[in-house]
Every structure is written in C-alpha cells, then in structure tokens.
C-alpha cells in the first residue's frame, strides 16, 4: 500500500514537472533568444518571421529552432535600452498609465469597499449586486457605452480615455469589499470608542489589516492594465500613441533581435511583481471567488 502510494507520488511529480515545463517554455524561449545575434535569428527563423507570405516558393525550407544561443550577443539589449529611445519611451508610457489607473482604482476601491463591507443603508445590497454584474461584463459590452461617454467628454484620442474608465472599474470595489468583510467589527468599534472618525478608522485600522488584499488588487489591476489591448485600439485611434502592449505586435518583423528583447522588456515588470507578490496574488485570486 505504502509502496503504491510512493509510485503514485513519483508519477504525479513527473506529470507536474512536465506541465510546468510546457507552461514556462515560452518564457524560457524568449529569454534565451534575446541573447542571440541578429544573424543567428535571421538564419534560423527569417523564413517565417521576416518574409511576407506572398513570396512563398515551394522548396521545403527547414527552420532551425533551438534554445541555446550559438552566437551569444547583447546587441539587441544595446539597441533597445541604449541606442534608441523609442522602446523605453513606450515602456515608461505603459508604466505611467498603469500607475495612474492602479492608484486611482485602489483609492476608489478602499472607500467603496469600506462603505459596502461595514455599513448598512437602504438599497445597498441591490447596488452591490449591480456592481457584481458590471464586473462580469466583458469589454465587448462595455466598450461601446464607454466610447459614447468619452466621445461626449471629448476625450477620444487622449490618454484620459484609457485612464478614467480604468479607474472606475467594479472589480476593485468588489475585491476590497470581500477583503474588508473579514475584518471583525469589534476592531472598528474599539477605534471609534477611542474617538477616531471614519476616515481615520479606514486609514489607520482597516487598511493596515487588509494589506494582503490591497496588494492583490494592486497586482491584479496592474497586470490587467499592462496587458490591455482593446481599450487603446478603440479609444486611441493614433497608432503612435499605442502603449507597449500593442506596439510590440507591430515591430515584430522589423528587426528580430530587437523584437525578442522588447518581449523581455514587456514581461519584466510583471515578472518582478509576480515574483515579489506571488502570495498576495494567490490570496487575491481566492478572494475573487464569490462566497
């Protein structure tokens, strides 16, 4: 019995390791390829990535996929980080958008979450249910209404068109309501008896107790904004204004070594956030479940 259990464990472990490899392979691939020279990349993948589909000839051409660089080179990094300002410019633009949206939404969510979690007023439950419904709606539904308002406010084409609706998203309020609910009322009572007003209670008692929940909101929100595609496509019209998330898919064919390094540039912030906040992220996902 014990032996059977052990073999079972071994098989489980092997299966899990294999799956992890599959999951992580794209990242590994990007990292090693970012250190290949432009020549090596063109020789190996030029047939697929550089040429357009029209000039197909029927001779079978092998591509040469490999993980370890044969001609290690830092030229791509030099080009992207030091030689041209374009890529880093997009990087800081995306970072700025993410910072603005995440900060705004966290503030709104702290206030709203506190109100929904710790107070009672007529109609509150109905409003909360409405919010959950809004949260479930995909962008395909909300983009049109968003567009109408932004058009009326004359914001189409400007970055506020992306920032404002991003801040006013239902997800943050929902997540922090769930988080704040788990803080016992007695803690709040104690603070009020000590003479703290509501804002002080929120700032000095509730928020410090909900650090993990707030961290998870920040990271989930940041990731979502960092990866956004639909909003800039629709609201920004001007291709030059596109953030890194869309800009990337347009440079891919220009210069292969740069393209790979840009991929690394795009994954760097989320990778760092992920490594640092992975526990908060897990808690956040668990809390995002309706209970």
């Amino acid at each position: 019995m014990a032996k059977r259990r052990k073999t079972g464990d071994l098989i489980t472990l092997i299966v899990l390791i294999l799956m992890s490899v599959v999951v992580i392979l794209p990242v590994l691939f990007m990292v090693t390829h970012s250190f290949m020279s432009g020549n090596e990349l063109t020789a190996s993948y030029g047939k697929i990535l550089s040429s357009s589909k029209d000039d197909e000839d029927d001779t079978p051409i092998e591509i040469d996929a490999h993980l370890i660089p044969r001609e290690p080179s830092l030229k791509g990094y030099w080009d992207v980080f030091l030689a041209t300002p374009d890529y880093l410019g997009k990087f800081w633009l995306s970072l700025g958008l993410c910072a603005a949206i995440t900060a705004g939404q966290t503030l709104l969510a702290c206030l709203g979450g506190y109100g929904f979690a710790k107070f009672k007023y007529p109609g509150k439950n109905l409003l909360f249910a409405l919010m959950v419904l809004l949260m479930m709606l995909p962008l395909q539904v909300t983009l049109v209404p968003n567009y109408i308002v932004l058009d009326k406010l004359n914001m189409i084409g400007s970055y506020s068109a992306i920032i404002l609706p991003g801040i006013c998203s239902a997800f943050g309020v929902f997540l922090l309501t769930q988080t704040f609910k788990s803080i016992p009322d007695s803690v709040l009572e104690a603070a009020r008896l000590d003479g703290a007003n509501q804002f002080k209670t929120l700032l000095l008692v509730v928020i410090p107790q909900a650090k993990a929940g707030i961290a998870s909101l920040v990271i989930l929100n940041f990731i979502d904004t960092w990866n956004m595609v639909e909003q800039p496509l629709v609201f920004l019209k001007d291709r030059l204004k596109y953030p890194l998330s869309i800009f990337l898919s347009q440079i891919k064919n220009a210069d292969l070594s740069r393209a790979f390094v840009c991929g690394i540039l795009a994954m760097l912030p989320v990778l760092l956030l992920f490594l640092h906040f992975k526990d908060a992220l897990m808690t956040g996902i668990e809390n995002s479940a309706l209970k």
Partner: protein, 291 residues
C-alpha cells in the same frame, strides 16, 4: 434629512452611502448611464435620428452573415473550451491536492501565464505554429500532414492559448474549493470501503458544486478576453474559423457603425446576463435549500 438630530442609525447609513458614492458615480458615469444610451441607440433609426424603430436593428444584425458567423464561432469556442478548461483544471487541482505543501511551487508555476503579456511571447507562438514552424516540423517528421495553424486550424491555437493562460487561475480556485470539504467525510467514506472514484463522485464533486458554478462564470468571463490573444496573433482580419463576436464588434468600431455596435453589445449583454443569472441563481436556490 432636514431634521437637526439625525438618529445614529441614519447617520451611519449616510456615512456608508457617502463612502460608496465615488465608486457609484464613476460606475454610473462610465457604465450604467452610457449603457442606457446604448440600448436606446440600438432601438433608434440611425445615429442622426432617434426615431424609435423597435427591434428592426436587431433583426438586421441577427440576419447578417457576419454576425451569424461570429455568433456561431463564439458558441463553438465556448462549447469546446469550457469543458476542456474545467476538466483540465480540476484534474490538476486534484493532483496538487494530494500534497499541497510539497506542490505549492507548481501552483505558482501554473498561475504565471495569467500575468504574462501575450504580446511578449507572441514570437514564440509564431515560430511554433507558423506554416514552417515547429509543430508542422514535428508532424512531418512523424509522417503526418502539416496543418495550416494560422488559417483553418487557428481555432485550436486559440484554444491552446486560452488553456495555457487561464488554467492556473481555475486551479487556484478549485484548490480553495477542495480545501473547504471537511476531511471527516473522506475518513467516514474510507471506513465504509469507498474507493477514490466513489469518493470523487459522491463526496468531492457534490461538495464543490457551488464553487464549480462560480469557476464556470469566471471561465466565461475569461473566454471573452481571448480576443487579446486572437488580435495579437492573427490581427484585424483572422481566418473565418476564429471570426468571433469580438471581431464583429471591432470591425464595426473601425467602420463607425454605431447602431450595429450597440445592437451587438446589447445582445452579448443579454446572453451573459442570462448565463450568469442562471448559474448564480442556481447557487442561491441551493443555499436556500440547505437552510
């Protein structure tokens, strides 16, 4: 409100309301009110005239070939992807649940694709799935026919991307669900001589049914986000097989056809509302039954 001395309860209710007000105003301004405008637009003659034409626009859209194709493909994608992700993520969760502490690192691994911008690894997927790519190379090596992964078979590429990206999220949710099953139930079942299959079907699955319904809702919400992947990999005009509701919306945005857009948004909203209402409504009924 004109009373000079508000009762403590009224004051408390007012404070709570004020805390939630900023979020409510934001949501109202960018989502609720404009959604009302969208609905009205979908019932009007044209952008210029707000003459009420009833459901005529809906008939037009429902009859159009583009919408039919988009709806058919979207439902097909749902029908294949939802069972796949539920079964896959439940299986992985069951594997991990055998030894949560030891396997914690895998849980983290599997969530990682969720945070990764697809645009940063798009080159990998292009190399793997292009006509001359790795997958076709392997297929030909095995003596099988190469397939057109960017054309007719793009559906499967999108499915793989969806699973790659979202399975980890569901695994975390399923693990939380499995954790909520009281261990005594399994002990009692073991004493009765029940095997693992019996335990799975008689205890685990019924006990996590409410969670599963929520995970299904989340999976649907995430399915709508596959547009990002589809856009980044296949561009504005993908193969017919993955022309989905998102492409229908995006193309109408580009053509500035707001009437059709508003009809599309309203229809998607109706479907989501019905699905989510059905799933979460069932949940409430269940809970009522237990009381």
């Amino acid at each position: 409100m004109k009373q000079k001395h508000l009762s403590l309860r009224t004051k408390d209710a007012l404070t709570g309301f004020l805390f939630t007000l900023p979020a409510l105003v934001g949501l109202g301004m960018f989502f609720v009110v404009p959604f009302g405008i969208t609905l009205k637009m979908s019932l009007s003659e044209s952008m210029g005239s707000s003459k009420f034409v009833g459901l005529k626009n809906y008939q037009d859209v429902l009859k159009s070939a583009a919408f039919k194709l988009a709806a058919k493909n979207t439902f097909k994608f749902f029908g294949v992807a939802l069972p796949c992700i539920l079964i896959l993520s439940l299986l992985i969760a069951l594997l991990l649940f055998r030894n949560l502490k030891k396997y914690d690192i895998f849980r983290t691994f599997f969530v990682f694709p969720l945070v990764l911008p697809v645009s940063s690894v798009v080159l990998f997927f292009q190399i793997v799935f292009s006509d001359l790519g790795v997958v076709n190379g392997v297929l030909e090596h095995l003596g099988m026919h190469a397939a057109d992964w960017t054309g007719e078979q793009a559906f499967w590429v999108l499915l793989i991307l969806y699973l790659w990206k979202n399975t980890g999220y569901n695994v975390v949710l399923f693990l939380a669900a499995l954790n909520s099953v009281p261990p005594e139930l399994y002990e009692a079942a073991s004493l009765d001589g029940a095997g693992w299959w019996k335990k799975l079907t008689r205890i685990t699955l019924p006990m996590i049914a409410p969670h599963t319904r929520f995970i299904l809702v989340i999976s649907i919400v995430n399915l709508f986000k596959s547009f990002r992947e589809a856009y980044i990999l296949f561009g504005d005009h993908p193969d017919q097989s993955i022309y989905m509701i998102q492409h229908f919306m995006n193309n109408n945005f580009i053509n500035l056809n707001y009437i059709r857009l508003s009809v599309g948004a309203a229809l998607v909203f109706l479907v989501i509302f019905a699905l989510v209402g059905l799933l979460l409504g069932l949940r409430d009924k269940d809970e009522g039954g237990h009381e």
